[in-house]
């Protein structure tokens, strides 16, 4: 190799990466380019509107915004202010979402806009989720550009994550369509606080939805989340019926949602309403935002939660945020052998063959075609 060829080989990837960073870091200047008419709302007299995106159903006066802070009534027409208005973009392993039965070992081009339709006291991304779009730095990334960047970074999927994709659902839907036509899948990481019609439209376009089930008590939802439990359970049942791949994460917070009874009720509900094959992740809580007064979740608490759910007959119960814990692995429910070996976000080994256990041929539910990308 001559010197010219060597320099070309060595510097081109670096230049490409820098160009991508610059493209992402370019601040957005024009608010109009982020504004499109919202798809789910109802017009009311006197220029008021009722939002029909989430169960909160905000009734919003002219010039006012909904609870999410990213949708505004302008003269009786309701607008999303976050279309293509990306405030965070990263390339993450799919295990970080976490989605354990969805193309393990692949990367997800992960994006978010500002805003959220709840206000969890333990939110780890409150700087963006609890802000209005104009209060954070944004980049203009229209759907086609997202799909192109996902391909450029060899991502198997686009993940709508970090804040709450429900509040930027128009953008999610269009980006998922752009991704699909480019061969890139889409996954949604959500609290699940959404009405049925937008959920149906979302499920038609995306390939997996991970729902953060914050607790299994309405009291917790009311006091810690500023939401309700029942609509989330309805969402989980609807996703199941619509056939979109779904996993559940339950962040275990010391003293607030960690009782045996709550774990048992949760496990029984999941088994009855969703079936035993839905992956359920118990994650460790870290003190954040408005819950800095509580400690980290002790590992034995997470293991107790898993033991209770295992005993109730759930097949895929995981422990998250504890790198190296054996409950990060996927085990075959029939022969008990390790099928996907994980340490943190890293996948060390996969013993699946076309979605079946390579030892006993047990079918393992999930989306496994992405394994080709490993």
């Amino acid at each position: 190799m001559d010197r010219r060829a060597f320099l070309k080989t060595a510097t081109l990837p670096c230049l490409a990466a820098c160009a991508a960073e610059r493209a992402l870091a370019k601040p957005a200047a024009n608010d109009a380019q982020f504004t499109i008419e919202a798809r789910f709302y109802e017009k009311l007299p006197y220029k008021k509107i009722k939002c029909k995106l989430c169960p909160r159903e905000c009734v919003i006066d002219d010039h006012e915004r909904g609870y999410c802070g990213v949708r505004e009534n302008r003269g009786g027409t309701y607008y999303s202010l976050v279309y293509s208005r990306v405030c965070a973009a990263h390339v993450d392993p799919i295990e970080k979402k976490p989605l354990f039965h969805f193309a393990p070992g692949t990367m997800a081009f992960s994006i978010a806009t500002a805003g959220c339709n709840v206000n969890c006291k333990m939110c780890q991304n409150w700087e963006i989720s609890q802000s209005r779009p104009e209060q954070v730095e944004n980049t203009y990334l229209p759907p086609k550009n997202v799909a192109a960047l996902a391909q450029q970074y060899h991502c198997y999927s686009i993940a709508y994550t970090y804040s709450e994709p429900v509040v930027f659902s128009e953008y999610v839907m269009d980006t998922a369509e752009a991704g699909r036509s480019s061969g890139v899948k889409s996954v949604v990481i959500s609290g699940g606080y959404i009405q049925e019609e937008p959920l149906k439209q979302l499920c038609r376009r995306v390939d997996a939805i991970k729902v953060d089930l914050k607790a299994f008590s309405d009291k917790f939802y009311k006091e810690v989340v500023n939401g309700e439990l029942k609509p989330i359970l309805d969402t989980l049942v609807s996703i199941r019926k619509l056939g979109t791949w779904n996993e559940i994460v339950y962040l275990v917070i010391p003293t607030l949602n960690d009782s045996d009874q709550e774990f048992k009720s949760l496990a029984r509900w999941v088994k009855t309403e969703l079936g035993p094959d839905v992956p359920l992740h118990f994650s460790q809580f870290h003190p954040e935002y408005l819950l800095k007064n509580l400690p980290l979740t002790p590992v034995p608490t997470l293991e107790r939660a898993k033991a209770i759910c295992d005993a109730e007959g759930l097949h895929y119960v995981y422990i998250g945020n504890i790198p190296g814990n054996p409950a990060e692995n996927t085990y075959c429910p029939k022969c008990r052998r390790v099928l996907v070996e994980r340490v943190g976000f890293e996948v060390r080994a996969i013993h699946l063959n076309r979605g079946k256990c390579q030892y006993c041929q047990q079918v393992i539910p999930g989306v496994w075609d992405g394994l080709l990308h490993l």
Partner: protein, 367 residues
């Protein structure tokens, strides 16, 4: 409810004026009294002993319960002039409005003159923020003529114009309400939080966790709150307490449950509690239904202003005015519509003590 409070309430009734009126004979500079008064003499009694009678008297006196302290009443001054605002879209008469303002402030502070009263609101070295309410465009935002009158009197009280900042959430809201956005340091500044920015550390009290406007936290030493008297479709009414939602980054999070306890909790955040010294509520053409958007069919010529140093008392009186007008017009009371402003009572409760909503402790002065 999880309580993550990091602040502590100071007791009601509030501390007296930081600069009470000077007693006769005491010379003050610019109307401000910085001396704590004449030093007490040290008295030496010739006969330090006591008689049996005096001893018994003293013992009985100590055993009896002390008479309950009578808290001072919170004064709310309603100043009106029926000719203040001519019918139609014209601006209110600036000379009449200045008179309405002067009468209100002089009465509120029991001062010899309006300027003397203004001198007790802020020192000449302080930066005074005027927190206006500009959400409803020109129709139902804080009137520019009222703000001009306040600016004029502040300057006459010794506050340089460079030390006056008119602020609200957005530059665009200020412009829509008729205020000339400007951040020039040698003039009165008009600036939105979107341009000035927010703190990066959370301010937390009770149910509220927010980022505060840097105009409030860093620029201003004192704040005069200038809300508008109007109905609010979610929290019932919006006046003094609710107007401070304009100081936080996430007001959209705190409208549930008719704003209770969020409105009270926001007002407990230390920079708000410590810096807001006076409320002047624009009641020139208030709105009794359809708010906070401007709905001219539901506004009426009240032709006045409400002023108080107690935001809770002012909100209570303003709420009664709105309810009275609704009753006159045959509109249901707010309670029936599930938007009674319960946050006013919460602001007065023992956890908040931001003021009083007890009519017996409110002195309503109508002039």
């Amino acid at each position: 409810m999880i309580d993550n409070s990091t602040c502590r309430a100071s007791p009601w009734p509030p501390a007296p004026d930081p600069w009470p009126p000077a007693p006769p004979g005491v010379i003050t500079e610019l109307g401000l009294l910085f001396s704590s008064g004449r030093p007490r003499e040290l008295r030496m009694d010739r006969n330090p002993g006591t008689s049996r009678r005096n001893l018994l008297r003293a013992c009985f006196a100590a055993a009896l319960p002390a008479p309950a302290a009578v808290p001072p009443k919170s004064r709310v001054v309603i100043s009106r002039d029926p000719s203040l605002h001519p019918p139609g879209p014209r601006s209110p008469d600036s000379a009449r409005l200045l008179t309405v303002l002067d009468r209100a402030i002089q009465s509120l502070y029991d001062a010899d003159s309006p300027i003397a009263a203004w001198k007790r609101i802020a020192r000449p070295t302080e930066v005074v923020g005027l927190k206006v309410n500009c959400l409803s465009g020109r129709g139902n935002s804080t009137n520019t003529v009222l703000v001009e009158a306040v600016c004029e009197r502040l300057q006459q009280a010794g506050i340089p114009r460079a030390n006056i900042v008119v602020w609200d959430r957005l530059n665009s809201d200020l412009e829509a309400a008729g205020f000339p956005v400007s951040s020039r340091q040698d003039r009165i500044r008009y600036i939105g939080n979107d341009a000035a920015g927010y703190e990066t550390d959370l301010a937390i009290y009770g149910s509220v966790g927010s980022l505060l406007s840097t105009t409030l936290t860093r620029t201003c030493d004192a704040v005069v709150n200038l809300p508008v008297l109007k109905d609010h479709g979610i929290v019932g009414v919006t006046m003094a307490l609710k107007n401070l939602f304009g100081a936080i980054n996430n007001p959209n999070k705190y409208h549930t449950n008719a704003g209770d306890p969020y409105v009270a909790d926001v007002n407990m955040l230390p920079p708000i509690r410590q810096k807001v010294r006076l409320t002047i509520c624009d009641a020139i053409a208030p709105q009794y239904e359809g708010g906070p958007s401007y709905m001219p069919q539901w506004s009426w010529p009240f032709n006045g202003i409400l002023t108080s140093r107690d935001p809770v008392a002012l909100d209570y009186i303003g709420w009664r005015i709105i309810e009275q007008k609704r009753a006159e017009k045959g509109i249901e009371p707010l309670r029936n519509l599930k938007r009674e402003p319960a946050y006013i009572a919460t602001a007065a409760d023992p956890q908040h003590r931001l003021g009083t909503n007890d009519p017996n402790l409110i002195e309503k002065v109508e002039i």
